[in-house]
C-alpha cells in the first residue's frame, strides 16, 4: 500500500457502513427502551391497561434487537479487528445495549403493575413518580444525543441528576410508609407504587452507566458516574 493520492480514498467501505448501521440500530434500541419507560409511567398515571399491555408486548422486539446487535458486534470484532475509536464504539454498543435491555425490562415490570392496579384509583396523587420519570427521560435523551453526536457536555451533571432521583425515591417511600401506617387498607396499592419508584430509581442508574460508556467511547477515558 503506497501513500499517494490513493491514500485519500476511503478504505474499508463495507466495514465503515456496518459500523454506521450498528450505531443507528443501537440508537433505535435506545429510543425504544426510553419510550417504553416513558409510556409505562403515562399508563400508570392514566391507569391505561391497553397501553400497558402494548409495552409488555414491545419488550420482545427490544430483546430481539439486543441479540441481533450483540451478534453483529461480535462479528465485527472477530472479522475486522477494530482499533481505537472503532473498538471503543463497538465495546460501548455491547455494553449499553444491556442497559437499554434492562430499562425496557423495568418498563415492562412497571407496565405489569399497571395491568394489575388499573381498576383502582391511586392512593395518592402522583407527583414525585412522574418527576422521577421526567428526570430519567431527560438523562436518556441526553445519552442518545451524545451517542449520535459525540458531544458529551450534557452528561457532566449526571451524578447530580441521579441524586435528585434518589432523593425523590426516598421521599416517595417515606410518604407511602406514612400513608400505609394511617390507612393499612392501602398497603397493596402503596407497595405497587413503591416498586414503580424503585424501578425508576434503577433506570436512573442505568442512564448513568450508559453515560459513562459514552464518555469512554468519545474520550477514551473511563469515568464512573453514579
Amino acid at each position: 500500500m503506497l501513500l499517494g493520492d490513493s491514500a485519500k480514498m476511503p478504505l474499508r467501505k463495507e466495514y465503515t457502513a456496518n459500523l454506521e448501521k450498528l450505531k443507528v440500530d443501537v440508537q433505535k434500541m435506545g429510543e425504544l427502551a426510553k419510550d417504553s419507560a416513558r409510556n409505562a409511567i403515562t399508563a400508570l398515571v392514566q391507569r391505561d391497561r391497553v397501553l400497558a399491555t402494548r409495552i409488555i408486548k414491545e419488550n420482545v422486539t427490544i430483546d430481539d434487537l439486543e441479540f441481533d446487535i450483540e451478534k453483529r458486534c461480535m462479528k465485527l470484532i472477530a472479522l475486522q479487528q477494530p482499533m481505537a475509536v472503532d473498538l471503543r464504539t463497538i465495546g460501548t454498543c455491547m455494553k449499553i445495549i444491556t442497559d437499554f435491555d434492562r430499562i425496557s425490562d423495568l418498563a415492562g415490570d412497571i407496565a405489569e403493575i399497571v395491568v394489575r392496579i388499573a381498576d383502582d384509583p391511586h392512593v395518592k396523587p402522583l407527583i414525585d413518580i412522574p418527576r422521577m420519570s421526567e428526570i430519567s427521560q431527560g438523562m436518556l435523551s441526553d445519552c442518545l444525543e451524545a451517542f449520535s453526536t459525540g458531544e458529551i457536555k450534557m452528561l457532566e451533571d449526571f451524578s447530580e441528576r441521579d441524586n435528585e432521583i434518589d432523593a425523590l425515591f426516598d421521599q416517595v417511600r417515606r410518604e407511602l410508609l406514612t400513608l400505609t401506617i394511617e390507612k393499612p387498607r392501602f398497603i397493596a396499592n402503596a407497595s405497587h407504587l413503591n416498586f414503580v419508584a424503585l424501578h425508576l430509581e434503577r433506570i436512573g442508574d442505568h442512564a448513568c452507566n450508559i453515560a459513562s460508556r459514552i464518555i469512554y467511547m468519545v474520550t477514551g477515558k473511563r469515568r464512573k458516574l453514579e
Binding site: 501513500l3 476511503p10 475486522q80 471503543r88
Partner: protein
C-alpha cells in the same frame, strides 16, 4: 535515561533527492518492546537501520543524532563493529547462512574472537533463549536451510543473541511465518525483553498491540506519534494515527 534516543534525525537517499526520515525525535526505553508502525515506505526500516549505522553506504546521508546509552553513535570515535555487536538485527526473511545450525550461531562469537571451548555453551544458551533448542539439539550439525521458516527465523534470533547484544532490532520478523511460528516468536519477544531492549517493525497492528509496550507511528518519513501501546490503539492523539490504526486513510 532512555536506552536509545534519536534527535533531529534525517536520512536522505539517492544523493539527497529522497528525504526518507524527517526530523525524527524518538526515545526508546530500556527492557521494553517498542513497535514501529506505519504504511509501506514511511521510513520504518530506514529508522531501524540508523540505530546500528547500517545506513552507512554510498548515497545515504544521515543527519542528526542517535544516542545509545547516552553516547552519540555517529561520533567519529564509535567503533562500528562494537556498535553492531551491541545492537543486533533480525530481518523480515529468515536469512540463515548455508551452514550448520551450530556454525550459524557460532559465527558471530567466532568473528568476535571467542575461544572454541566456550562456543558450545554459547550455542546452547542462544538456542535455548530463542526457544529452538528442544527442536534442534540433536541436529546441530545439519544444514540450517533444511529447517522450516519459523525455525530458521528463531535460528536467526539465536544468531543475533549469540554475540550478547543489548538491543535487538526486528524488521517484520513474522511476515513470512505461519500463525503458530508467529506466536512462538511473539512469546519469545516477551521473554527476551527481560534482558534486552527490543525495537520491532510490524505491519500487523494486532501484533504490535499484543507484544509491544510502546508504539511509534511513522508517516511519510515523520514520526507522528509515540506513546504507550494501549493509548495508541485505544485513543491515539493524532487524527492520522487514528486513521491508520482503524484502517482508514484520508
Amino acid at each position: 535515561m532512555s536506552k536509545i534516543e534519536a534527535r533531529g534525525l534525517n536520512v536522505y537517499y539517492e544523493k539527497g533527492t529522497v528525504h526518507a526520515l524527517k526530523e525524527v525525535n524518538l526515545e526508546i526505553e530500556s527492557n521494553k518492546i517498542t513497535a514501529l508502525i506505519g504504511p509501506s515506505g514511511c521510513g520504518k526500516t530506514t529508522f531501524l537501520r540508523t540505530l546500528n549505522r547500517m545506513n552507512e553506504v554510498n548515497d545515504v546521508m544521515t543527519k542528526g543524532k542517535v544516542f545509545i546509552d547516552g553516547v552519540e553513535i555517529y561520533n567519529g570515535g564509535v567503533d562500528v563493529i562494537q556498535l553492531r555487536k551491541k545492537v543486533g538485527m533480525v530481518f523480515q526473511q529468515p536469512n540463515p547462512f548455508p551452514m550448520s545450525i551450530y556454525d550459524n550461531v557460532a559465527y558471530g562469537p567466532r568473528v568476535h574472537g571467542t575461544q572454541n571451548k566456550k562456543l558450545d555453551t554459547i550455542v546452547e544458551e542462544s538456542l535455548k533463549k530463542a526457544a529452538l533448542w528442544d527442536e534442534v539439539h540433536d541436529r546441530l550439525d545439519e544444514n540450517a536451510l533444511k529447517f522450516s521458516g519459523g525455525q530458521q527465523q528463531r535460528l536467526c534470533i539465536s544468531r543475533a543473541l549469540a554475540v550478547n547484544p543489548e538491543i535487538i532490532l526486528f524488521d517484520e520478523p513474522c511476515s513470512a511465518l505461519d500463525p503458530i511460528s508467529t506466536s512462538k516468536v511473539e512469546d519469545l519477544l516477551r521473554e527476551l525483553k527481560k534482558d534486552y531492549t527490543i525495537v520491532i517493525v510490524t505491519h500487523n497492528m494486532q501484533q504490535a498491540a499484543r507484544v509491544s509496550d510502546f508504539t511509534a507511528f511513522f508517516l511519510l518519513g515523520e514520526m507522528i506519534e509515540c506513546g504507550k501501546t494501549t493509548q495508541i490503539f485505544e485513543k491515539p492523539k493524532d487524527k492520522r494515527t487514528e486513521d491508520y490504526v482503524t484502517g482508514r486513510f484520508g
